[in-house]
Amino acid sequence: MPPTTPDDVPPESLAELMEFDPDPRTVWRPQELSAVFRALLETPVRLELGKVGAAAVEQDGGADALEQPLRPVTFADLLHGPAPSLAVLRLVKEFAKSARHDAESHLPTEVASALYCLSIVAGGLRCGRLITSMDDRDLRRNVEWALARPWIDDASRALLREAQVRLFGGPGGLPGHRS
């Protein structure tokens, strides 16, 4: 079948080809955020953090934590693992924070916000340190916001629920203690 040409389509469909929004954060459609987030989790952390991040990892002594004998550490390994490197979690948090405000970031803002929240929660639960200056109330709101995202994967959802219980005394509970 010959390719469709602009002659054959309704004008409103053609209007889409009059748009060329160059903002990388809007490349992915809302219904694709699940796949985007899953892809991010499967990506080696070192690959996403780039040269600056990799250098910082070396300085912070987290380089070893990023490599395992068989394959590099992914975001999923880091966020869902039992003993993540706090130094690397810090870098991921900063990476996510800057991605939220950077018009050139390739991460959709919502995905960056979820990553930001998850890195803080993982630090609090697995390393005993909350790597944020946010107060408990704001952090709890962030956790609730992330939990409400339909595209959050099961393992991340479990981590956020655990945070609700262990850091805040349950969903909607009073601000709890900081580990």
Partner: protein, 258 residues
Amino acid sequence: MSGESGSNSFCSFPTTQWTAIGHAGGGEGDAARRALGQLLTRYLPAMRAHLVLERRISRDAAADVLQGFVAGHVLEKNLVAQADRARGKFRTFLLTALNHYLWHRARHDGALSRSPGPGRHVPLDHHAAALPDGQPGSDAFDVAWAREVVREALSRMRAECERSKRPGLWALFEGRVVAPALEGTEPLAYEQMAGRFGFHSLSQATNALVTAKRMYGRCLRAVVAEYAGGDGEVEEELRHLKQILAGARAGSGSRRAT
């Protein structure tokens, strides 16, 4: 316009629209005839759309009108030579001239019908051809014109990808943006993109998509810049065409719907 248009086909936008208009209106000679031919090839679909969809003239009558307009006005009276960039868009000028021709012809046909004789052309419905006040605006004309602009921008982007040996970039743009818009297919999903183009990370895939979209944006702007004035006019024209396409009534310019 720079010489990067890849105008290697008869239907390509001529090298700088207004320069081509100048050549076309320049009188005799092969170059003038060639430039005029290119201009007419580019604008005929929009004029036909205006006559059929906006003025509700049958396709046969529209073909007859266009033939008469081109022969009697464009060629015989060297209409293009009267176009003046300072007075606005060329397509508005052309549309105004076409509407005037239509009006005069309808009056002439009316006179003929009152004194029947051997008809030389398909008679027009006087009401369909009547000129509305402030007549230059025509959605069908602009929609058809927008189709030409998009077609040319896509063609240039494809050519640029081939020239720079990046066929994958075109394939990505086609699968992600063009086919969904033109064929209603689902855009390529991230997993499909990763499998087909070998992306190893989200950032690679995102960067490739952004690169493709920016390249298309440049092509689109370059096409519009050939007939619009400065940057401000280019942006205004893009906004106008987008509004026209987004707000066009069903059937006003969609050949699929007619």
